[in-house]
């Protein structure tokens, strides 16, 4: 029997303790296993495979790679270390948050286990209230970014793209998010900023009021 894999799963006949070498055929047993292993190798693919049906090729072509996911259920800060590297140029940070009191999430870049705390963070964050009033938060020299996500006792979230954080150059970000407040809330926020100092960063910190739940996933964009 030639292998059916990967079109369908094989069903092999196992010999029993009383089986003779010709039933099932001993030679066929080896041949079937050999065929199945070769089919598995072909499906997995060699390192750097150019075969488009191989798993190695498909994994290399995927758009986003999950690099880290973590959560906090207490405290006021969630930090990530060693998540940015030379492997990717652009990173996506996905946030879901619930806190004890309304708070505009803040973010700082981080390196070697410490936040970059200089007054070099420039940002703009814009939103409209449900009454149509424009609300802006901005700075040309803060010690952190006010990112576009306002946490509250209702669930809120945001997605940020961070550009070239690991290179020894200025790091920028852009993104959008929601506002968990109802009565005093805004209908979503957009924003972006730059860390106006030339330095490599391997992580970041999110700063909040007291956290009920903060879940953060970090992805790397395929460089293509």
């Amino acid at each position: 029997m030639a292998t059916n894999f990967p079109g369908s799963l094989d069903s092999f006949t196992n010999p029993t303790s009383g089986s003779t070498l010709d039933s099932p055929s001993h030679a066929s047993q080896h041949a079937n296993i050999n065929d199945a292993v070769e089919a598995l190798e072909a499906k997995v693919g060699v390192d750097g495979s150019a075969v488009t049906t191989s798993l190695d090729y498909k994994v290399a072509q995927q758009g986003l790679t999950l690099l880290a996911r973590s959560a906090a259920t207490s405290g006021t800060v969630l930090s990530f270390d060693n998540v940015f590297s030379s492997t990717f140029n652009v990173y996506r940070i996905a946030i879901v948050v619930n806190v004890t009191s309304a708070f505009g999430l803040q973010m700082r870049m981080r390196s070697g286990g410490s936040d970059s705390t200089g007054a070099n963070y420039r940002y703009v964050r814009t939103a409209y209230t449900y009454g149509g009033t424009l609300e802006q938060s901005y700075s040309a020299g803060d010690t952190k970014w006010n990112i576009p996500c306002i946490a509250s006792t209702n669930n809120a979230g945001g997605v940020l793209d961070v550009y070239n954080p690991y290179s020894a150059n200025k790091t920028t970000y852009s993104g959008s998010g929601s506002d968990g407040r109802v009565g005093s809330g805004t209908g979503g926020l957009v924003g972006g900023g730059i860390l106006n100092t030339n330095a490599s960063h391997d992580g970041f910190s999110l700063i909040s009021s007291t956290i009920n739940s903060l879940i953060v996933s970090v992805y790397g964009y395929n460089n293509g």
């Binding site: 930090s79 952190k144 306002i150």
Partner: protein, 55 residues
């Protein structure tokens, strides 16, 4: 986590290399920075859980 820690001075750190997440009390420097962050934070109105505009 030490349940005696003041919750506002608790930090959770995730190391993407090891996959390890540690929740601990802030160091003195981290605590001072957090105080400064809170002092300079936006003042946002608490949610009254009712729409400010009629629906």
């Amino acid at each position: 986590m030490d349940t005696t820690m003041d919750d506002q001075y608790v930090i959770t750190v995730h190391d993407a290399t090891t996959g390890e997440t540690v929740t601990r009390a802030m160091t003195d420097d981290e605590r001072a920075q957090h105080d400064a962050d809170m002092e300079n934070a936006e003042v946002l109105p608490d949610d009254d859980d009712s729409p400010s505009v009629g629906v």
